[in-house]
């Protein structure tokens, strides 16, 4: 469904992404992992059109994304950014409904159908009971689910998430990822999610790309990519994997 071919991005002539190629199929969750500065965020922003690329191709459903205007990619993909912005003075439902923007006219006129989609997204993200609340007054975990609801409302076949659980406590992290997984499996959406927690990548992703210094170091099923040898090499820190526990068949941890 999504094909990225030889994608390169330079910043001040230094390569941030170097010839990255991969494919993503319908209904799959792809995890992007790698150390800080490996290029996870840059890759997501290159795909969604926030930055221009220096070389390569991005094909989505046989359409060359470089040939359409950047903001028109909103019809194909929704993004949950790394640093969430919640503008003050808007209710949750207003913010969620803004996910319909690609389909609305200049004046933002919404229909009953738009409202239904927004309502379903709020139910899927457990934010429906917050609909009338001012979004900027919610807790971090709630706000992040509101942004997720907005992305669901955009109703795109592809979702991009950039470390969406970074500032959440462990319960909100798990709830967030559970909601995401349920929704995308139900709607058969594809997801690219940059994450730091290797165990979560193992648990929630169908495929994983391990990035190192702007290049793909390994790509494939989580069990084949997340190995002691590969992780230790990329993170430059001894990483251990413990196996055979009933609750978590594999557990990754830094050597202490």
């Amino acid at each position: 469904m999504l094909q990225v071919k030889n994608l390169s991005v330079n910043f001040n002539k230094l390569p941030i992404l170097d010839s990255v190629s991969f494919e993503l199929h319908k209904g799959k969750i792809l995890g992007l992992i790698g150390p800080n500065g490996a290029g996870k965020t840059t890759l997501l922003r290159a795909i969604n059109g926030s930055i221009s690329i220096d070389h390569g191709k991005i094909i989505f459903k046989k359409q060359d994304l470089l040939k359409i205007k950047e903001h028109e990619r909103a019809n194909f993909m929704a993004t949950v950014p790394q640093n969430r912005t919640i503008p003050a003075g808007f209710q949750v439902q207003q913010i969620v409904l803004m996910g319909r923007t690609p389909y609305l006219n200049w004046f933002g006129k919404t229909t009953k159908r738009d409202e239904r989609i927004a309502e379903q997204a709020m139910r899927d993200t457990d934010t429906y009971q917050l609909a009338d609340k001012m979004a900027d007054e919610l807790s971090g975990g709630e706000q992040q689910r509101v942004i997720l609801a907005r992305a669901f409302t955009q109703d795109t076949p592809l979702l991009l998430l950039d470390e969406p659980t970074t500032h959440l406590d462990i319960r909100f992290q798990m709830e967030f990822l559970d909601l995401l997984q349920k929704h995308v499996k139900k709607e058969k959406k594809s997801v690219i999610i940059a994450m730091h927690d290797l165990n979560q990548a193992l648990r929630f992703c169908d495929e994983v790309i391990l990035l190192s210094q702007g290049k793909i170091y390994a790509n494939g099923k989580p069990e084949t990519v997340l190995t002691e040898k590969k992780l230790s090499a990329v993170y430059q820190y001894p990483i251990r994997i413990r196996k055979s526990d009933k609750e978590a068949p594999i557990f990754i941890y830094p050597k202490i």
């Binding site: 922003r45 969604n48 059109g49 926030s50 205007k69 950047e70 903001h71 028109e72 990619r73 909103a74 019809n75 993909m77 929704a78 993004t79 950014p81 912005t85 503008p87 003050a88 003075g89 808007f90 209710q91 439902q93 207003q94 409904l97 803004m98 996910g99 923007t101 690609p102 609305l104 200049w106 004046f107 933002g108 409202e115 927004a118 609909a131 009338d132 001012m134 900027d136 907005r150 955009q154």
Partner: protein, 343 residues
């Protein structure tokens, strides 16, 4: 879905505009009783009802002075408040006011340049002033924006500082030009302080198309401004053609400001005070906030104008002095109360 009732607020403020306008027509150096106003209006509309002698005298005061002035002040107030609200949304800065970010001063400089080249006498001459003001406003806002921009972000304080710098520069140039303006100096200075010294219908007729067009354009961009509150990058990811929208907002807001400044001088703080109060009342949905700002700005400036006429009557204070007396403490209050974040 939205539980707030936009219609209620629009009606409420529209009634406020009518009341303020009536008050402005009635009050002045000569007070015209309300029943006389209605009698005169009725004689004009229905025609041939006889008027008393005193009502005859009032007629010319009403139609040559009070009504055109009131309409001009309504338009200018609406223009400044709407463009203020739009600039605040565009720069995501609660302190962006056409005056504080230098746009008004740029428009003022543009006006003065046009005025010194040819002091406007005919209708065509009148148009050179707003057009020149529009160019001045655009140059100022672009200069301020490029000065305040570091990389991809525009810092709140830097924007205001750049605005103050550009403002001072334009004001200095304006003063320099005024010194060479000769006989019209007093009128020009009063104009600069925001006194609506322009009398009669000509300024109303010339200003109205620009102001109404500008306000209409701005109000049509309410939804785009809403999405823009997420920042440029996210707005684009949500399908907003950010560059195009930004350009349109700058053009429309500058046009609106310029038209107001060209005919009423630089009047500060209307664009700051009015949207700020309304935000507290109705939230930040620009589809509602901008039309309400237009109405609220009209009320605010008409009331200020009444005070300007009445306080030291028969002498008139420039209305810009009144808005500063209200607005400056308010500005400081907003600066101080950043802890309680309403923005």
């Amino acid at each position: 879905m939205n539980k707030r009732s936009p219609a209620k607020w629009i009606i409420l403020l529209a009634i406020g505009v009518v009341l303020a306008a009536l008050l402005s027509i009635v009050l002045g150096s000569v007070n015209i009783p309300l029943q006389d106003v209605f009698a005169i209006l009725k004689s004009r509309v229905v025609s041939h009802t006889t008027l008393t002698d005193i009502q005859d005298k009032f007629t010319s005061i009403l139609f040559d002075l009070r009504i055109p002035r009131t309409i001009l002040v309504l338009l200018v107030g609406a223009a400044l408040a709407t463009s203020g609200g739009a600039y605040q949304g565009l720069f995501q800065n609660p302190l962006a006011d056409p005056y504080l970010i230098g746009v008004a001063s740029g428009a003022g400089l543009g006006s003065i340049i046009a005025m010194t080249i040819q002091w406007p006498r005919d209708l065509l001459g009148y148009f050179t002033v707003p057009i020149s003001a529009f160019i001045g406003a655009l140059l100022a806002v672009m200069l301020v924006y490029s000065l305040a921009k570091t990389g991809k972000t525009v810092h709140n304080t830097t924007l205001i500082l750049a605005g103050v710098a550009v403002s001072s520069l334009s004001n200095a140039l304006t003063s320099f030009l005024l010194l060479n303006a000769g006989g019209e100096l007093r009128r020009a200075i009063v104009w600069m302080m925001g006194g609506s010294t322009m009398i009669g219908w000509k300024p109303v007729i010339t200003a109205a198309p620009f102001i109404l067009l500008g306000i209409g354009l701005l109000c049509s961009m309410g939804y785009q401004l809403n999405v823009l509150q997420f920042g440029d990058e996210e707005a684009q990811q949500m399908g907003v053609p950010v560059k195009k929208v930004r350009l349109w907002i700058i053009l429309a807001a500058s046009l609106t400001t310029a038209a107001a400044v060209a005919f009423a001088g630089t009047i500060a703080f209307v664009g700051l005070v009015v949207p700020h109060i309304l935000r507290r009342l109705v939230g930040n949905d620009y589809r509602l906030l901008l039309p309400l700002s237009a109405l609220g700005g009209a009320i605010f400036l008409v009331l200020s104008d009444i005070l300007a006429r009445m306080l030291l009557a028969p002498q008139e204070i420039p209305v810009g002095v009144i808005t500063i007396l209200f607005g400056a403490p308010f500005f400081l209050f907003i600066l101080r109360s950043t802890k309680r974040k309403v923005w």
